[in-house]
C-alpha cells in the first residue's frame, strides 16, 4: 500500500513475471472466472460485477452477482479447530471501533490475486472494513501474510462505491454459453 513492490518469494516472482510476459504478448493466462470457478474474495470484490454486503447479528454475508456466490463471515472469536482448505477460507469477524476486522485462514491455493500473484494454503489475511466519506464508500485495508509465497506481510487497499438503494443484483451464469471452456479447461496453475 506504500507503493513498495509485492515481496514475492522466488517462485511467486517467477510465476508472476511469466504471466506478465504472456499478457504483454497477447496470451493472457485464463483466470478462474473464465473457467466459471470461484475467483476468491478479493478478486471477486474487484471484479466488474457488483456485490452486496448483508449484516446480521451473527454474521456478514457477501453476495456476489457473479454466479450468485455467497461468502458467510460469522462474528466469532476463534477459527474452526480443524481447517479444510476452501476457496473462501475460514473468515471470522469482530468489531474494532467503527471497523469490522475479518481474519481469514484456511484458504486453498486456487485463488491467485490479480493477475498471477499466487499464494499457498498458509495464506492469512486480515481485512479491516469501514465506511468512509459519510457512508458513500466502503474501504477495505487488507494485510496479506503467506510465508510460502511472500518474504514478509504486505498490505493493499480497496475502496468501493455505494450503489443507490434501487440497484439490484442481476442474474449471471458463467456456464451458460462459455465459449472459452473447451480451450482453457477447468483448473490448472497458469
Amino acid at each position: 500500500m506504500d507503493g513498495s513492490p509485492v515481496p514475492f518469494l522466488q517462485w511467486t516472482q517467477v510465476v508472476n513475471d511469466a504471466a506478465a510476459k504472456d499478457e504483454a504478448a497477447g496470451n493472457p493466462w485464463p483466470p478462474n472466472e473464465q473457467r466459471c470457478l470461484v475467483a476468491g474474495t478479493m478478486r471477486a470484490l474487484k471484479g466488474n460485477f457488483p456485490w452486496t454486503m448483508v449484516q446480521t447479528e451473527k454474521e456478514l454475508i457477501l453476495l456476489f452477482e457473479e454466479d450468485a456466490r455467497v461468502n458467510q463471515i460469522p462474528f466469532r472469536a476463534e477459527h474452526k479447530k480443524h481447517q479444510m482448505p476452501t476457496w473462501y477460507g475460514d473468515p471470522i469477524a469482530r468489531w474494532d471501533g467503527d471497523t469490522v476486522v475479518v481474519d481469514t485462514i484456511g484458504f486453498n491455493e486456487k485463488t491467485p490475486f490479480v493477475s498471477a500473484v499466487y499464494h499457498t494454503p498458509a495464506l492469512h489475511t486480515i481485512t479491516r472494513i469501514r465506511l468512509i466519506n459519510d457512508g458513500k464508500n466502503l474501504e477495505m485495508r487488507v494485510t496479506i501474510d503467506d510465508p510460502g509465497a511472500f518474504s514478509k506481510p504486505w498490505d493493499t487497499m480497496l475502496v468501493f462505491d455505494r450503489r443507490p438503494p434501487t440497484y439490484k443484483l442481476r442474474d449471471y451464469r458463467c456456464i451458460e454459453n462459455n465459449r472459452d471452456l473447451p480451450t482453457v479447461g477447468v483448473w490448472g496453475p497458469g
Binding site: 508472476n16 497477447g26 457488483p50 448483508v54 487497499m157 468501493f160 455505494r162 451464469r173
Partner: protein, 140 residues
C-alpha cells in the same frame, strides 16, 4: 447490535466499482485484443446472442462478407446500460466499431454500434477500465 457497517437502517448495501486500487478485474483479460487498432465495419446482423458470460453480436461485413463474432459484457452488465435482448435482430444494418483479436481470428471486442438513424450505442463502458496488468506495487 448497536454497530452498523453497511447501513443505518436496513442492514444491506450494494457496492461495486473499485476506486483506488488499480483496474477492475474481469471475466477474462482483454489482452488478446489489439487495443491499439479500431476497425469500423458496415455490417448486417446475423444473430444477437444474449447469453452469459458474454453477449455476442455476430455480423457479416457488407463489403467483404467476413463473419465477425463481436464480444461484449454479460446481459446483467449491458442491461444496466439500457441494452436488451431485443436491441438487435437478424438483418439489421449497422456500423460497428471493434478492437480485433491480435491473432487475426474474426473476433472482436465490441466498442460501439451505429444504427441507421445515426444513434450510437456505446459498449466501451462494459469493458474493464484497463488491462489486468500484474501489480507494480499492490495486487490489482
Amino acid at each position: 447490535m448497536s454497530k452498523q457497517l453497511v447501513a443505518l437502517s436496513g442492514a444491506l448495501a450494494l457496492f461495486g466499482a473499485v476506486l483506488a486500487s488499480g483496474s477492475a478485474s474481469a471475466h477474462h483479460s482483454y489482452a488478446m485484443f489489439d487495443n491499439s487498432q479500431t476497425l469500423t465495419v458496415a455490417a448486417t446482423v446475423v444473430t444477437w446472442q444474449w447469453t452469459n458470460p458474454h453477449v455476442f453480436l455476430e455480423v457479416v461485413d457488407n463489403a467483404s462478407g467476413m463473419h465477425w463474432d463481436l464480444e461484449s459484457a454479460s446481459p446483467s452488465i449491458l442491461s444496466r446500460g439500457g441494452v436488451a435482448r431485443n436491441t438487435f435482430k437478424a438483418g439489421d444494418k449497422l456500423t460497428v466499431k471493434m478492437h480485433p483479436r491480435r491473432d487475426n481470428a474474426p473476433v472482436g471486442s465490441l466498442l460501439s454500434v451505429e444504427l441507421p438513424d445515426g444513434k450510437v450505442l456505446s459498449f466501451e463502458g462494459a469493458r474493464p477500465p484497463g488491462p489486468s496488468a500484474p501489480p507494480a506495487a499492490t495486487p490489482n
